[in-house]
């Protein structure tokens, strides 16, 4: 298993070694001790090396070179170096060193170099201890490359058992940590020990620069090989108190391609065996106090997700619509809001956003990431600082006037205000072009007519209220029995009504004279006539009741005498009311 591939790779590396051996040795540094630990439990190969370097030459050294074979270098995702201070158990990793790509002369072409610049030059005989942490993606190659649903996924990892360095190495060792599963095979050199899920190479002593001894480890790895081929993150700041984050993922299972059938039955009945290489879900660790979390794709919401949160983080477990087997793809979007004060800070009149650059997903390899920061309208003097090693926080500085956030509401208010103003103006302004046109004159006339009709209506209303007075006097009569007062009241109302009807006359005659009122005139005349009839009836009723009261007739008899008049009165009132309404409508 894995031999074909291994042989090819070996040839490749042999060529490389030939090239390397011909290269000159760089400086007088000696690495007195190199310990490498490679963690292969996830799809990312994390290589932690502890390097002790000694200056054996005459001149002081201020930088140390790291070499990585180019095949691996293109997969390098992360590289940091730290100075270790103190000795023995009191070791603490201290200052981070600047790591820069370098291109020293006279080096073999198949290697990439990085230089670590020491804070102070290393004098002759001094030594320094460094922690170098490197992470490589896509360095576990599935082999076989295509498996069926029932197969387990096997991967090959290749590296060198000897630390590849431009300096001589005195003592070195390599430990590989594998997942707790089957190990298919591994290259056996001298001093190779396999202990459970750990493989140890070394210690090897006194190796010359550019020593190289390829090893290949072939083992089972069923962990999620989730690879985001493309990730677009959008961070939108609103000074109303929210930072909205939207992340678009385009995910592929980067492990061994699946071939043949996919049987849901097998997957459901024995997911561990018949779907070992698939992954069902991803876990994203969001900042605490994340809210309004959503998870959807182009065709709608995806209902399979769970959110757990505590004060330190919000954890969201998202399941794609279907389990992903090797080579299967999916795409989705997650979004969440964060409180503004947790991420946007103010200093010296400037505001800055401090936000993590990478994806919040666990164990997700991101091939390409685009980060968009949307600042509110009115932001000025933008600058970005990314201490640019990936997986770090980035900072965006900008200036923003707090008043500017009132701009949009203000625009809205102004818009609506002007809408109303326009309406008011439209209603109140006379827009007719010609003041002498027939229609304009007709309109003016019509306005007069309406005013007159209004006056008539008012007068009729006054009459009606006068009628009420008459009725009230009758009520007083039944209560007090004061016939004289009642008669006086009748006289008074009579006079009042006469005056009112006098007032009506000129109005009616105006209506009669103006042509636009033609269609309304009959109604108005009817109204006035009805009102007059009502007056008469009321008077009649009044006098009848007063009369019968004087004659001391009984209630029933009075009622009988009045009944017919009363009915008429009610009907007339109704008619008047209807007429008024009708005229109103016109």
């Amino acid at each position: 298993m894995g031999l074909g591939l291994g042989v090819m790779r070996t040839i490749e590396f042999l060529l490389l070694i030939i090239a390397i051996l011909s290269a000159p040795v760089l400086s007088d540094l000696i690495l007195s001790k190199v310990e490498r630990r490679i963690d292969l439990t996830s799809q990312i190969a994390r290589i932690a090396s502890t390097i002790k370097a000694e200056n054996d030459g005459s001149s002081s050294v201020s930088e140390i070179l790291l070499s990585i074979p180019e095949v691996q270098a293109k997969n390098l995702a992360y590289l940091t170096a730290k100075l270790v201070e103190g000795k023995g158990k009191a070791k603490t990793s201290g200052v981070a060193l600047a790591v820069e790509p370098a291109n020293p002369k006279g080096m073999p072409p198949a290697l990439s170099f990085y230089t670590m610049i020491l804070p102070k030059p290393l004098a002759n005989g001094d030594s320094v201890t460094l922690d170098v942490l490197a992470a490589f993606t896509h360095s576990l190659r599935p082999f076989p490359e295509k498996i069926t649903q029932a197969d387990i996924q096997l991967v090959v990892f290749q590296d060198t058992a000897h630390y590849l360095s431009p300096y001589p190495v005195k003592v070195q060792s390599l430990t590989l940590k594998l997942p707790d599963a089957r190990i298919e095979s591994y290259t056996k050199l001298e001093n190779t020990k396999g202990l459970g899920s750990e493989i140890k190479y070394g210690p090897y002593e006194n190796l010359p620069p550019f020593s190289y001894s390829p090893v290949a480890i072939h083992f089972e790895a069923n962990q999620a090989f989730a690879v985001a081929r493309e990730l677009v993150r959008e961070i939108e700041i609103s000074h109303w108190g929210n930072v909205q984050v939207t992340e678009h993922y385009d995910i592929v299972h980067g492990g061994a391609m699946s071939k043949g059938e996919f049987s849901r039955l097998d997957y459901q009945s024995k997911p561990q065996i018949r779907g070992a290489s698939a992954f069902k879900h991803l876990v994203a660790k969001l900042p605490p106090r994340a809210h309004s979390i959503y998870y959807r794709d182009a065709i709608g919401n995806i209902s399979t997700s769970h959110v757990r949160g505590d004060s330190k983080k919000t954890e969201i477990l998202i399941e794609p619509r279907y389990p992903l087997f090797g080579g299967w793809k999916t795409a989705f979007t997650i979004g969440y809001g964060l409180p503004l004060q947790d991420f946007v800070f103010e200093s010296e009149g400037k505001r800055f956003l401090n936000f993590s650059f990478g994806s919040p997903m666990h164990d997700l390899v991101t091939d390409s990431i685009t980060l968009k920061v949307v600042l509110p309208e009115g932001s000025k003097y933008l600058s970005v600082s990314t201490p640019f090693v990936v997986q770090q926080e980035e900072e965006v500085y900008y200036q923003f006037n707090a008043l500017a956030m009132l701009m949009e509401p203000f625009m809205l208010i102004t818009g609506i205000f002007f809408l109303f103003v326009t309406c008011i103006i439209y209603v109140h302004v006379d827009l007719s072009i010609s003041k002498s046109s027939a229609s304009y004159l007709a309109k003016l006339q019509w306005d007069d007519v309406r005013a007159t009709v209004q006056q008539i209506q008012n007068t009729v209303n006054q009459c009606l209220s006068t009628h009420e007075k008459l009725e009230a006097s009758l009520r007083d009569l039944s209560r007090t029995g004061d016939v004289q007062a009642c008669k006086a009241a009748r006289k008074a109302t009579d006079g009042l009504l006469k005056e009112l009807s006098k007032e009506l006359k000129p109005l009616i005659s105006f209506l009669q004279s103006s042509p636009p009122a033609a269609h309304i005139l009959p109604k108005v005349e009817e109204l006035v006539a009805k009102e007059r009839e009502l007056q008469e009836r009321l008077m009649a009723k009044h006098s009848t009741i007063v009369d019968s009261y004087e004659k001391k007739l009984g209630g029933r008899e009075t009622e009988n005498r009045v009944a017919s008049v009363q009915q008429k009165i009610v009907a007339l009132r109704q008619d008047i009311e209807d007429l008024m309404e009708y005229i109103d409508e016109i």
């Binding site: 049987s263 009945s269 709608g300 009520r475 008619d575 209807d578 409508e585």
Partner: protein, 784 residues
């Protein structure tokens, strides 16, 4: 509903005493506020689907409309007209621009554009989801306008409130139901309003607007033929009943001329606007109305004697000409096999037509006749109010009320033929029920009011007449005030006078006779309010429970009250879209065509447009053929994946096995070797051990039940409630590539052709049995 009316009256009561003009202003403002509230109600009652599920496009056709809108918003209007879609009806394709009713798409596209130009970044999907609720609010307002023209604002408000929540309309216009009907019902009611408005005013301005509204309706929905047949019918009715007037002429003639010209601008209609029988009625009536207009004109200028002579002359000549024209028309119409009618129209005229000749139309569930419960479900109490509304429309019968009567009568017939046309009935039912309710309240409140001032009228003797015979309410002291308040409550009455122009004084005395006893009126008002309340409760229930499901997501409640979501359709479409090649062809029954193109972005053979019966029959034939023949048919069509919907695991009833007989029927209609009886045992459709071998060996059976038996060991189908007939079998020409979580969608891949082994081929060529087999196959497979 009672609420808007009483609300109109309520505040006006206090204002009434003060000043009438003020009261009118209040009335106007309050009517306006009520209309706004009705709009809000219409919009928000349709949001249950978004709240209970999610903001997503529903069902089948909306997905197509959504896809077209996306195309429109991305590529612009000119590309839209020229769009040839090669992702459907493979290998034929479809000219989308020329075969789609563009109204809905253009509406939503315009909204999207306007909103985005205002810097409101809504997605096309959001706009599409909310188009239907917005237009239902518009439809309610249009119903208000229409009913106001017929019976006054009180009835208008009632009708608008009823329409805002009528379940039948909700079923087609919940948020996400992005279908033509959503805007078409608004267009329909608004066109009718403008027609009535023109008829009432005789204004050419409204006539022109009417033609434009008709144009919008033509753009939106094939149901425009209803308008272009109903209005001529009404015109004819008016002429026959002697109601011809110049207003009628203005309402009709411009509509036909402008409307037909505009309609033929819509690509999907084109020359159909003058060629098909659906439009003939309008032209016929157009001729008749001119003849009648001429007759009236001549009658006006001639003396009665001369007129009689002219009539005899014209009638004799006219009859001859008419006979000739009719003969030509009949010859033209009869020369076409469907008599110039489209299949769907013929189905309406002859309800048995589709089941006899066009199984595709008959196979759609919404084209089936409705059952009685569906009337109760969809229009609820309106069904009882409509007859009262019809009676109210006869008192007095005007041009506009006769139109409403004609509308309800025709739509009741159409809804009886097809469930789907219940949608056309709903506005008519709302308008008539609105009239009925409003009239009822009118009569009842009037009789209450009439009797109260009767007591207040003679208060002077109230103290003495305790034992009087008139109906006396026990509370008497605040009577006068109360009466004063009650007066304006009669505002409703004015609407009648408004329309019946010469205010009929005799009818007033009649009205006075219509007074009901006070107690009876009060109880009746209460009962009507109760009826309204019942309607509201039913509508809210229907909106929340019955019609809010988007049908691509199903949910069920587990025993502990948890919600279980069945999102299998989208799971499958998502899988297809991400894990197959972009040009792969997917075969499925036509129901899933629109969804596959929209959600999975894959080419399909047939879709819900169903324009090519032969193509659908080919897919039906493949599904009903044995595996090998099916493989050959699919292979000849470049199909790579076959998608079937299977509900046997979770009990989802509308799956492909239940639709299968239609596939057989449609397939058999074109390819006679597929015979329906082969799939039936004694006339019964079954899939258990009694099923016929043809059934148990057809592709649909095999793809649905492949390895199904291993789920529970028995193969118990939870939809058909039986154990399946053939349990253990292998597929030789297809392989399972994906099955969703609940097995509702299963996707199979066609296996590649097996490598030919030289020796074997020679051998098989020489063998007779195989060659005879090939002959059989040649006959069976229509594509070879």
């Amino acid at each position: 509903m009672a609420s808007p009316e009483s609300a109109v009256n309520g505040p006006t009561m206090t204002a009434g005493a003060a000043s009438k003009s003020l009261r009118n202003a209040f009335g106007g403002v309050i009517a306006f506020i009520i209309l706004v509230l009705i709009g809000v109600l219409a919009f928000s009652i349709r949001l249950f689907s978004v709240i209970k599920y999610e903001s997503v496009i529903h069902e089948f056709d909306p997905y197509f409309n959504y896809r077209v809108t996306q195309f429109l918003s991305k590529n612009g209007i000119y590309d839209f007209w020229n769009w040839f879609d090669d992702r459907t009806w493979y290998p034929l394709g479809r000219v989308i621009g020329g075969t789609v009713y563009p109204g809905l798409t253009l509406t939503a596209g315009t909204i999207w554009k306007v909103v985005n130009s205002l810097n409101i970044p809504l997605s096309v999907e959001t706009v599409c989801v909310f188009t239907a609720p917005i237009f239902s609010a518009f439809a309610s307002w249009a119903a208000y306008l229409l009913t106001k023209e017929v019976k006054g604002p009180g009835a208008g408000l009632t009708a608008a409130a009823l329409l805002a929540m009528v379940p039948s309309y909700i079923s087609r216009s919940v948020a996400g139901s992005y279908d033509n009907e959503a805007v078409a019902i608004f267009a329909l009611v608004f066109t009718f309003y403008l027609y009535i408005k023109t008829l009432n005013t005789g204004s050419l301005f409204y006539a022109t607007l009417n033609a434009l509204a008709y144009f919008y309706m033509v753009c939106s929905w094939g149901g425009y033929t209803f308008i272009i047949n109903l209005i001529p019918m009404h015109v004819l009715l008016c002429i026959v009943t002697g109601r011809y007037s110049s207003r009628l002429y203005i309402a009709y003639a411009p509509l036909v001329v402008l409307g037909t010209l505009l309609a033929s601008l819509v690509p999907v209609v084109g020359f159909n606007a003058v060629l098909t029988s659906e439009h003939f009625a309008s032209f016929l009536v157009f001729i008749i109305i001119h003849v009648v207009a001429l007759a009236y004109y001549i009658k006006g200028i001639l003396s009665p004697k001369m007129f009689k002579v002219a009539v005899t002359l014209v009638v004799s000549v006219g009859l001859a000409v008419c006979c000739a024209v009719i003969a030509i028309l009949i010859a033209v119409v009869a020369s076409s096999p469907t008599k110039g009618w489209s299949g769907r129209s013929l189905t309406l005229l002859d309800p048995t037509y589709a089941s006899k000749y066009i199984p595709i139309i008959a196979s759609v569930s919404e084209h089936q006749p409705p059952t009685w419960p569906s009337y109760f479900m969809d229009i609820n109490v309106l069904a009882f109010l409509v007859p009262a509304g019809i009676i109210a429309c006869f008192m007095p019968l005007t041009d506009s009320s006769s139109f409403v009567i004609l509308y309800i009568v025709t739509s009741v017939y159409f809804s009886g033929v097809m469930v789907r046309l219940m949608l056309v009935l709903a506005p008519a039912a709302c308008i008539l029920s609105g009239i009925a309710l409003s009239e009822a309240f009118n009569v009842l409140t009037r009789s209450i009011k009439f009797q109260l001032p009767g007591i207040a009228g003679n208060p002077s003797i109230a103290s003495e007449e305790n034992g009087s015979s008139t109906v006396v309410a026990p509370n008497d002291i605040p009577k006068t005030e109360e009466a004063a308040k009650e007066k304006p409550a009669k505002k409703n009455r004015k609407k009648e006078k408004e329309n019946v122009e010469k205010k009929p004084t005799p009818s007033k005395t009649e009205k006075r006779l219509l007074v009901l006893p006070l107690e009876a009126s009060v109880i009746a008002v209460l009962l009507l309010v109760l009826l309204g309340a019942f309607y509201v409760v039913h509508c809210v229930w229907a909106a929340a429970e019955a019609y809010s499901a988007p049908s691509i997501v199903l949910t069920s409640h587990s025993n502990d009250g948890g919600l279980h979501v069945f999102d299998d359709f989208r799971e499958a479409y998502s899988w297809l879209s991400h894990n197959t090649d972009v040009d792969d062809k997917v075969a499925s029954w036509w129901d899933y065509g629109y969804q596959t193109t929209a959600m999975a972005n894959r080419t399909v053979l047939v879709d819900n447009n169903t324009w090519n019966n032969t193509h659908i029959a080919t897919v039906g034939t493949a599904m009903s053929s044995p595996e090998k023949q099916a493989w050959e048919i699919f292979h000849s069509l470049d199909v790579k994946y076959v998608l079937v919907v299977f509900g046997g695991v979770v009990g989802y009833p509308s799956d492909d096995i239940n639709k299968f007989l239609w596939m057989v029927r449609i397939g058999g209609g074109v390819f006679p070797h597929i015979k329906e009886p082969d799939y039936l045992r004694d006339g019964q459709y079954r899939i258990d051990a009694q099923a016929t071998p043809t059934m148990l060996n057809c592709l649909m059976y095999k793809l649905s039940y492949f390895r199904f038996v291993e789920t529970d060991g028995k193969g118990f189908d939870r939809v058909r409630r039986t154990e399946i007939g053939k349990k253990h079998f292998k597929l030789t020409h297809f392989e399972e590539v994906f099955t969703t979580h609940h097995w509702m969608v299963r996707i199979y891949k066609l296996k590649p052709q097996r490598n030919r082994i030289r020796g074997k081929t020679k051998k098989s060529k020489s063998s007779r049995s195989v060659s005879s087999k090939r002959d059989v196959r040649g006959k069976r497979n229509p594509w070879h």
